[in-house]
């Protein structure tokens, strides 16, 4: 495996003035590192990779990396990605979204992208909060938690991104945390190679906001929490629903063969040409 320093020179844009915008201790950098490591290992040409993001802290990721990069509107990354993939199917189209981005404002696009099965590898970095706007509750913030927009405790119930996407028909669904970096690498690799819509939920930390709301004092505390609260898919299958409460189930949650939109479209197109 290449040294990180070498990857930096290959994949980070030298013409872009750093530092990046992320807070110290943020998990997005860990994910970005993993993504670049895996892309390098698979050996995609940089010209063939398109990285699309929405709005929020995660939305800034593409600007730092030397691919074809597109920073879209809030929640809509998957719609742009769909257009790119269908117009140029040989491109490796990847989306990076945040939890508010992907499942609140972009929820409709997410379920339909999963259902439609256009080959897009999508990554939702879930830090349980709207970070960029100052720590408001998101659809993954646990019930009862105080945030800047739920000063008396979150009145809503959170939802499970992976289960929603699995039910919508995604070809590949998985979850990791940024603590579990080796698992994260494996899941990113599987998602990138999947023929069809793939989603990996990446549980991450926002030390600036959600750490404060969840009474976890530092990035280290937050990553310890990820370590201690995670349970593999295999173990989760063997324990009761009650025991699973509050646990982060990690691993591959769904992996199935579904014909992609483009394969089907090409078949029809070929027939019509004859």
């Amino acid at each position: 495996m290449k040294e990180t320093a070498e990857l930096v020179h290959i994949y980070l844009r030298s013409s872009k003035k750093f530092p990046h915008i992320w807070c110290a201790g943020c998990g997005i950098g860990i994910f970005m590192n993993a993504l670049l490591r895996v892309i390098d290992r698979i050996g995609y040409s940089k010209d063939d990779v398109v990285l699309v993001s929405g709005i929020g802290c995660s939305g800034r990721l593409p600007v730092y990396v030397d691919f074809n990069t597109l920073h879209t509107t809030h929640g809509r990354a998957l719609t742009f990605a769909t257009g790119i993939k269908l117009a140029k199917p040989h491109l490796k189209v990847i989306t990076v979204m945040g939890d508010g981005d992907a499942i609140a404002i972009g929820g409709n696009h997410l379920i339909h992208a999963a259902r439609r099965n256009v080959e897009i590898a999508s990554f939702v970095i879930n830090n349980y909060v709207y970070g960029m706007t100052g720590g408001q509750y998101s659809p993954t913030t646990p019930h009862g938690v105080k945030t800047t927009s739920s000063p008396y405790g979150n009145p809503e119930h959170d939802f499970d991104i992976c289960r929603v996407v699995e039910a919508a028909g995604a070809a590949f669904v998985a979850r990791s945390t940024v603590y579990h970096t080796r698992l994260l690498d494996r899941l990113i690799s599987k998602a990138l190679k999947k023929k069809g819509f793939a989603l990996v939920e990446v549980v991450s930390q926002c030390p600036t906001y959600s750490g404060r709301w969840l009474d976890l004092d530092s990035p280290v505390e937050m990553m310890k929490w990820q370590k201690e609260n995670s349970i593999t898919m295999e173990k989760a299958r063997r324990i009761s629903k009650d025991e699973l409460t509050g646990k982060i189930v990690i691993g591959v949650l769904a992996d199935r063969e579904v014909q992609t939109y483009h394969e089907r479209y090409q078949q029809v197109s070929e027939k019509l040409k004859v």
Binding site: R13, S15, K16, K17, K46, D47, D48, V50, V52, R60, P62, V63, D66, F67, N68, T69, L70, H71, T72, T73, R76, T79, F80, A81, T82, G83, I84, K85, L86, A87, K88, H90, L91, N108, H109, H112, Y261, Y265, V268, S269, L272, K273
Partner: protein, 381 residues
């Protein structure tokens, strides 16, 4: 009834739009069903797979324009078609396409609003929305066909302008023209000029995706061909990277405007009839121009000195053309199927030398020639 010759075809407005789009090289359509624009989508669904293009029905109009912009970045000439409620949803991405300079064509078949309104009676009430619907200062181009042939012709031109200036182009058509059937002669492919977006002539390492090459329009290579660049809706520097520097922010927005405004002279598209000696001139567009033309013909038969102007471009507003008309007439009449949107612009550029009268009908039925004729008679000095 006139018999159609071999070269003639009987087409509905929406069908003609698709023909024009395919002639212009459109190879990607994303849309969401909405009357009275749905035929554009249905015919695209039928024709694009045969033409080697891609059709997709998205989950809403926001997604439709998102997919269109994505496909355009990948190099495909792309379009969508909708009506008022969908057009409202698209405003977010119209702004993105303006800011990121992504060519795309948006057909808005106007029906009476606001909100769900009068589905699906004709209207011309989205004129100002086309201009100012998305937030922030931005330039926009909007075209207004008044016949089935013009719908075809202006769809081709919409793609040309969109590619030439790297900007979204809106076709503001009303339900009457979209659903009208007329016999038209299709232009031969060799006779129409098709424009393509400018391509870089430098290697990737020298390429500036948002630099000004002099024309105000930076070259735009498709994603995936070696020019790896960044596209964002944020204010960006010449390399496409986000910026808040005052010496980069204002030059960007100024360039977005000037790349189109420097060409105002080329963007005066109108038809006129009997304007030389007219004391009263009717300024119209879309289906109302048809009624206005008939009314002016009848008024002339009565010996009234009236003239006719039909606007084919609504935005940017043709100030040069309109001020000449205002200078040469004593009065102008602007009949419109809204409370007064283009008339407002006419009044804005009027320097006081001309009386501007309006005829506004907003009951969901078209303005008729007798209604305009009556008004012209009343306006006689």
């Amino acid at each position: 009834m006139r018999k159609l010759t071999q070269e003639q075809v009987l087409l509905q407005g929406n069908e003609a739009c698709v023909k024009g789009a395919l002639m212009a090289g459109c190879r990607f359509f994303a849309g969401y069903p909405i009357t009275p624009a749905t035929e554009v989508m249905e015919i695209m669904a039928q024709e694009l797979p045969k033409a080697g293009g891609v059709f997709i029905q998205m989950e809403d109009e926001i997604a439709s324009l998102g997919a269109v912009i994505g496909a355009s970045l990948a190099g495909a000439k792309s379009m969508t078609a909708t009506s008022g409620p969908g057009f409202s949803l698209m405003q977010e991405h119209i702004g993105f396409a303006c800011m990121a300079e992504v060519p795309c064509v948006i057909v808005d078949v106007m029906r009476a609003g606001p909100s769900t309104g009068l589905p699906t009676q004709p209207s011309q009430a989205d004129v100002m929305q086309a201009r100012w619907g998305t937030h922030g200062d931005h330039p926009i181009i909007a075209l207004a066909p008044a016949s089935v042939y013009e719908f075809l012709e202006l769809t081709i031109q919409a793609f040309n302008l969109s590619e030439r200036y790297r900007t979204p182009v809106i076709i503001l058509v009303d339900e009457v023209i979209a659903h009208l059937r007329e016999g038209i002669i299709l232009p031969a492919l060799g006779d129409i000029e098709i424009e393509e977006r400018p391509q870089p002539k430098v290697p990737p390492e020298w390429y500036l995706p948002y630099g000004d090459p002099g024309s105000g329009v930076p070259p735009m290579p498709p994603f995936g061909e070696g020019y790896r660049y960044h596209v964002t809706g944020l204010y960006h520097d010449v390399r496409g990277y986000p910026t808040t520097r005052i010496d980069e922010v204002e030059p960007l927005i100024r360039r977005l405007f000037s790349k189109i405004s420097k060409d105002f002279e080329r963007l005066q598209w109108f038809d006129s009839f009997h304007t030389d000696d007219a004391t009263i001139t009717v300024i119209s567009y879309g289906c109302v121009a048809r009624a206005a033309f008939q009314a002016v013909k009848e008024a002339r038969e009565q010996g009234l000195k009236v003239g006719f102007v039909k606007l084919k471009i609504l935005w940017p507003f043709m100030r040069r053309t309109i001020t000449k008309i205002l200078a040469n007439s004593q009065k102008v009449l602007v009949p419109e199927m809204n409370i007064g949107q283009i008339s407002r612009e006419v009044k804005r550029v009027n320097k006081g030398e001309c009386e501007v009268a309006t005829l506004n009908k907003v009951d969901g039925t078209p303005i008729t020639p007798p209604e305009i004729l009556k008004m012209l008679e009343e306006m006689q000095p």
